[in-house]
Structure formats: C-alpha cells, structure tokens
C-alpha cells in the first residue's frame, strides 16, 4: 500500500513482483515506472549517500534505498507513506523546507575567521572534541530522525535532532568562531532543553549517529556557558 495525495489522502494498493535483494526504493520505482507514472517520490543516489529517499515504511521512518524488503515486509506486504512531521507535497514527497530552515536557526553553518593566507588548523584526530565531531559528522540530512521525534510532533518550534546534531559538530570544531551565538540559538524551549531523551532519533538514524548524545552535550555546554555568565 502506498500513500497517495496530500495530508488528507489515502493508501492505494499495488501488486509488485518480488526479486532477490529488492529494496523498498526498488518497489516504489517499479510502481512509478510500470504501474502508475503519476506516483510522486524523491530519490537521487540510490546508495545511501544523498539522504533524499527517506519514507515511512510499515510505520517506521527509513532510508528506502538501503532497506531490503526481506527486513521489513510483513507477510509480503508493505505500507509506504511519506515522512512524519513534515508537510506532504504529494504522495511520498514531503516539503523538507522547515527541516533545513531549522538547521539555519540552530546556526548550522560553519563560521571561521581564517583566510587562504592562513596556515591549516592543526586538529589532532584523537583530541576529545574531534572524536565527538567524528561520531556525529556523517549526517546525510535524510530527515529520518526528525520524522521519528515525538517532541517535534508536540512542539512545532523544536529544532529537532538533525539541526541540533549539526550544531554539536560545529561546537566541537576548533576552527569555528560563532559558538557563543550558537549556544544561544540552541538553548531553551525550542532547542536542546526540549529534548525528552526518547532516543527515537538515535534508534532510527540510518548512519548510526546518536543525536541524543549530541543534544545532551549541548545541554551541558549551555549550562556551563550560563554558569559562566556567557549565555
């Protein structure tokens, strides 16, 4: 069953042949190419790099290009819907605008002062800060964590796990110079303090990142800054 229409749409049933190593994205592509060319969905790389093909598969947000049917089908059936917590444009395509706007609100952009005339920054791979960055930097922006987060559902202003995870990587980037402003941006009701540590983001992240850990780190960093009077 595949979701059709916008928020008040409904599921439509399709019969799709099974193949070995078939992915959920293969199924959606088969429907669009062979059964109903009006089906709208989004994908680009097909190999788990671009983060565009995330959908809700049998109730769980997943990257569809790397999700095998064997792993998720229940009695040979799939229910494929658009990602939760985002406006549906049509069928399986959501508007990711608010998701990425929140990255900007969390000051998710690197801000440095070095120019091309400066030497490279020396960052030891084993340094504590760099280890934190390594653990969180591989986010592909697929929106699975955002769709899986109940706090996003309940508090529409909440920045969400991906944006806060991004802020956490920049906070630990020795070259970044905007961390005072960044901590202000991620503090409070819409930021890291809204997280209830449900850990759904960490459970569902296809890249095995733990945004919950990053958000906890942000909470500590904000409190430290507040105690020092720097917030």
């Amino acid at each position: 069953m595949v979701w059709r229409g916008t928020a008040d749409g409904s599921f439509q049933t399709f019969e799709v042949p099974r193949y070995a190593s078939q992915t959920v994205l293969d199924v959606v592509t088969h429907i669009q190419r062979a059964l109903d060319p009006t089906l709208a969905y989004r994908y680009a790389c097909r190999v788990g790099m671009c983060g565009t093909c995330a959908m809700t598969v049998n109730g769980v947000a997943r990257w569809t290009c790397r999700t095998h049917i064997d792993k998720v089908a229940k009695d040979g059936a799939l229910e494929i819907a658009p990602l939760r917590n985002l406006p549906v444009i049509r069928d399986l395509v959501t508007d990711m605008g608010e998701f990425f706007d929140k990255w900007a609100k969390a000051r998710g952009r690197f801000e440095g002062t070095a120019t091309r005339k400066d030497d490279f920054a020396n960052v030891t791979p084993q340094s504590a800060a760099r280890v934190q960055v390594d653990a969180a930097i591989e986010c592909i922006g697929c929106g699975v964590c955002y769709a899986s987060c109940d706090v996003v559902t309940w508090n529409r202003d909440y920045l969400g796990p991906a944006a806060l995870n991004r802020a956490w990587t920049l906070l630990n980037d020795a070259r970044d110079t905007a961390n005072a402003e960044r901590l202000r941006a991620v503090a409070g009701d819409a930021g890291c303090h809204a997280c209830h540590t449900h850990v759904s983001c960490t459970e569902r992240c296809p890249k095995h990142i733990a945004p919950t850990a990053g958000i906890a780190g942000l909470k500590r960093a904000v409190v430290k800054a507040a105690l020092r009077g720097e917030l």
């Binding site: 503090a187 409070g188 009701d189 930021g191 409190v223 507040a226």
Partner: protein, 112 residues
C-alpha cells in the same frame, strides 16, 4: 521568555530533581519505618513536633516539589495543550505558590 530564563528553568528542574531523589528515598524509608514499627499518630507527632530537623527536611522537600512540578507541567501544557505565552507562565506561578503554601501548611501542621 528568553533563552536565558528557559535555561535557568531547566537548571532549576534538574537541581530540584537531584534534591527530590534524596528526599523521596528518606521519606519512603521513614514511612516504612513508621508503619512497620507500628508507631501511632500520637507517637509520630511526638517526634515531629518541635523537631527542627524534620521541619528543615520537609520544608526542603515541599519547596523542591514547588519548583520541580510546575516546570515539568510547563512542558506538558506546551506539548499536549499547545498552551504557551505569559498566561501559561502566570498560571504555573500561581500553581507553584499553591503547592508551596499547601505543602508548608502540612509541614507546619506536624511541627507546631
């Protein structure tokens, strides 16, 4: 409310939670001791009346509740009823004052 005050509320909730962990453990142990030991109400009052130690302990317990509960309720009201803004915060301040007043009334009831 500014992000500074939001952060302050979060810190107050965490700090009060740490106090409450200790208070709840001591309170439960005291209750179990009083019940299992078969203390009568008069015997319990005999120990609490005029005891500055119990007055201090239960005053801290009540005030930690009066800080902790409304901050938690704030998130519940925001997320479940979408109640935001100063009306919510004023209502919660009144609720906090009520918790503190009723709690302290009970504490004074066994102290005096």
């Amino acid at each position: 409310m500014t992000f500074r005050n939001e952060t302050l509320l979060w810190m107050l909730q965490r700090a009060s939670a740490a106090v409450l962990v200790l208070c709840v453990v001591v309170h439960l142990a005291t209750m179990i001791y009083a019940i299992r030991g078969g203390l009568s109400a008069a015997e319990i009052l005999g120990r609490t009346r005029g005891s500055y130690g119990w007055l201090a302990f239960y005053s801290v317990f009540v005030l930690a509740c009066a800080v902790h509960v409304p901050i938690g309720m704030r998130a519940v009201l925001t997320e479940w009823l979408a109640w935001r803004g100063s009306s919510r915060d004023i209502a919660l301040a009144v609720f906090a004052a009520l918790l503190a007043a009723l709690g302290m009334r009970a504490v004074m009831g066994v102290f005096l």
